[in-house]
């Protein structure tokens, strides 16, 4: 086993943030080295230095076989370092294949493109990932999950010696994750060194050989994955013990129905979806990638038009035609795609938190009360542990997980009766996750109706009072929450391709 990468004494500062303090890290060929830490610990920053995106302020980076560290993405590529960035960085107007081979298009003479070769080679990579996707498909039309898979394919196409995966599975479902791990195992066998970042703790046990933990920009420890209990890793990350007890499911049989959906339809995507949710209830939505959960939520929220069906809020039919109508009716929706649909990246943390509840801070003459906004923002920064130098930092400069917390804060502040959370904990660290679970439970306890869509089955099972399962745009069943429902039962419904009578 050769040592592919050796980093030591790494320093990095941003205005107002000391992001990396004397960090060390190394990587052997044929290993999966997990990099763990809370949101904002500095994981992505460290990896961006290794991949030539950022220049370091101090320390040394040794890459096997090269005298100098990479000073540009191109140089890193030439050294065999590939990276899947945490934030998707794709060209939405191009096709999947064009994205995968950007910068290395198969060419003929005079700069002519060999589009056939491009598509065949991409198809091969997709096949090796067991990914069923047309290389000619437009990237912008794909769901986040599928975009993530394209990013992975792109990184694989470089045939790197060192592959950095920064939260590759944040948007993925169990099935795709399993496929990805299969790919990782093959790469390992070929001697590729893999750096793996994730907040899904169970994955560490499944694939990591070693684990490095970071906290507050500093290196804490590097451990053997097999021999270290998860609890220990979590404690090193968070600096305290994290307890997360599944709650008791309240009896909401007597509660009023908050939202009822009847026969929702939209094009070929959504067929006849009906369900209802009571005040104080948490309804989880499970399903495979593309099952249509996001689409159902967007239709209810008025973000996409519906072709048919009825929406009743507190028993009253409600003609929701825009998010504005929905919020007016007391429905909030947290999107799964924070970058495109959740945040104004070049606005401040404060402005983003207030975005959905501007009325709270506006006088009759339209003047904003900045002091009140600041107070509120500071409150959430503290409550959710948002790591930011101040509430006036641009959201785009926060770490991924901290951005997610800002979106959550935005909807908590809006205080809707019915809240739909689509992948609420995407990219959020273990410690903060349990804090968010607690918040959702509190909201339900206050009588709000909560819908949680999540690709993490354990999350759905942990939170839900009832679990709705979708497959190919149909609601295939609703299961009770709690310990009695098994993963197998959910998966059975999630793959039931015929519409089944909905047992409620």
């Amino acid at each position: 086993m050769t040592k592919l990468v050796e980093m030591s004494g790494i320093e990095k500062r941003f205005p107002g943030v000391h992001a990396l303090k004397n960090v060390q890290f190394d990587l052997h060929s044929g290993e999966v080295h997990a990099l763990m830490g809370e949101n904002g610990a500095g994981k992505s920053t460290l990896m961006k230095i290794l991949s030539g995106v950022y220049t370091r302020d101090g320390g040394t980076v040794d890459i096997d076989g090269f005298d100098t560290p990479p000073d540009s993405p191109r140089a890193a590529q030439d050294m065999g370092i590939g990276i899947i960035h945490q934030e998707l960085s794709l060209m939405n107007d191009l096709t999947a294949a064009q994205n995968v081979f950007i910068g290395r298009e198969p060419r003929r003479s005079f700069g002519r493109l060999d589009e056939n070769a491009l598509n065949t080679q991409t198809a091969e990579i997709f096949a090796s990932m067991k990914l069923d996707m047309d290389p000619r498909a437009q990237v912008g039309d794909q769901t986040i999950a599928r975009q993530q898979l394209i990013e992975i394919a792109k990184a694989l196409s470089y045939k790197p010696r060192v592959l950095i995966m920064d939260e590759p599975t944040a948007a993925l479902n169990d099935v795709e994750i399993a496929e990805l791990f299969e790919v990782i195992r093959r790469l390992k066998a070929d001697g590729v060194g893999i750096i793996y970042i994730s907040h899904k703790m169970d994955e560490i046990k499944r694939i990591a050989d070693r684990v490095t933990v970071m906290r507050d920009g500093a290196w804490i420890d590097t451990l053997d994955a097999a021999q270290t209990p998860l609890a220990k890793i979590i404690e090193l990350m968070v600096g305290r013990e994290v307890k997360d007890e599944p709650p008791v499911i309240p009896d909401t049989s007597g509660a009023e129905t908050a939202l009822e959906v009847r026969g929702l339809r939209r094009g070929r995507e959504i067929h006849d979806v009906s369900f209802s949710i009571k005040q104080g209830e948490i309804l989880g939505f499970a399903g495979l990638m593309g099952a249509g959960r996001t689409e159902v939520a967007r239709i209810i929220f008025g973000a996409d038009p519906r072709d048919g069906g009825e929406i009743l809020v507190h028993g009253q039919p409600c003609n929701i035609r825009s998010p504005y109508d929905a919020v007016g009716a007391g429905i909030g929706y947290l999107s799964e795609d924070r970058k495109h649909f959740g945040l104004a990246l070049d606005m401040t943390v404060r402005a983003n938190i207030a975005m959905a509840a501007m009325g709270k801070f506006t006088s009759k003459t339209g003047v904003l009360n900045e002091a009140a906004m600041k107070q509120t923002a500071d409150g959430f920064i503290k409550q959710l542990g948002i790591r930011t130098p101040s509430d006036l930092q641009d959201v785009g400069l926060l770490s991924g997980g901290n951005q997610q917390k800002v979106v959550i804060a935005k909807w908590l502040l809006r205080d809707c009766d019915i809240l739909i959370f689509d992948e609420p904990t995407r990219g959020i660290d273990v410690g903060a996750k349990s804090e968010i679970y607690r918040l959702l439970e509190d909201l339900a306890a206050q009588g709000r109706a909560i819908i949680v869509i999540s690709s993490e089955l354990p999350e759905v099972m942990r939170l839900s009072h009832r679990i709705a399962v979708m497959c190919e745009g149909r609601l295939t069943g609703i299961l009770p929450g709690g310990a009695d429902t098994t993963q197998e039962q959910i998966m059975e419904l999630a793959t039931r391709r015929e519409a089944a009578p909905v047992g409620e």
Partner: protein, 335 residues
Amino acid sequence: MTSVTTQPAPSRASKILGALMHQRLLAFASLIVLLIVFSLASPNFMQTSNMIAILQATSVNGVLAIAATLVIITGGIDLSVGTMMTFCAVMAGVVLTKAGLPLPLGVVAAIGAGAFCGLCSGTFVAKLKIPPFIATLGMMLILKGLSLVISGTRPIYFNDTPGFDLISRGSLIGEVLPFLPIPNGVLILFIVAGAASYILSRTVLGRYCFALGSNEEAVRLSGVNTDRWKIAIYALSGAIVGIGGLLIASRLNSAQPALGLGYELEAIAAVVIGGTSLSGGRGTIIGTLIGALIMAVLTNGLRVLSVAQEWQTVVTGAIIILAVYADMMRRRKAN
């Protein structure tokens, strides 16, 4: 990308001033350099009368540029400011001269006409989803034609409306401080700038200006009625163009129906030189003012120096590029 310059400091006046000093002083740099160079080159440049001439030359373009700034911050563009200005002037002419109504109604007519035109552009953009470039290009042509139609292709003179020319040419400040005969047109420019700045930094409307430019879809999905706000912003911008129409009509003591084409580029140039991003989400009124001043100083200075016309153009082009380059450097350093 710096964050600081883009979002106006939100707290007390002193803080704002401090921030301005800190961030904008350097942006002034190009302006100051120009002023110094021209002063050294010509003894006639740094006279009070010429400084006032420069300010007055800034007034119309400055007001149009402020109007354009609002729309540009939302991520839009407004190509119609020039001909809309003319249209508003013609409407004032119709009300005052053709209908013979009193002066305040003429003012209302110009501003109202602007607001209405803005409302139309805004509706095209927000409701019909027509790209702002096309919606306002269409408006530009429509208003150009309508100005000619309504005026009968001839200027409307305001000779019968005593006091109309004072809107721009009189000097309220000069009456109080005789040594500072700043024309009302300039005063109005600064009042409009102050008001627009306040709206941008302190009100919901301003907040949504930035938010729409930053990520419209995210704002819509926050339950904000983005269409309505966008239309409101275009209408406000139109009303400001109406003020521009009054200023030019008052200065020429007539509504010239054929004027206006080309003014849009100059206004947008001032906005962009002032650091507002054409992709939306960032911008300041003070920057726009500085941008407009840079253009006016440049034009005036080269004319005072009697540089040959063709070289004036070359030098203006080069200095615009240089000024923006210097500003980019400054900002990159600031990070």
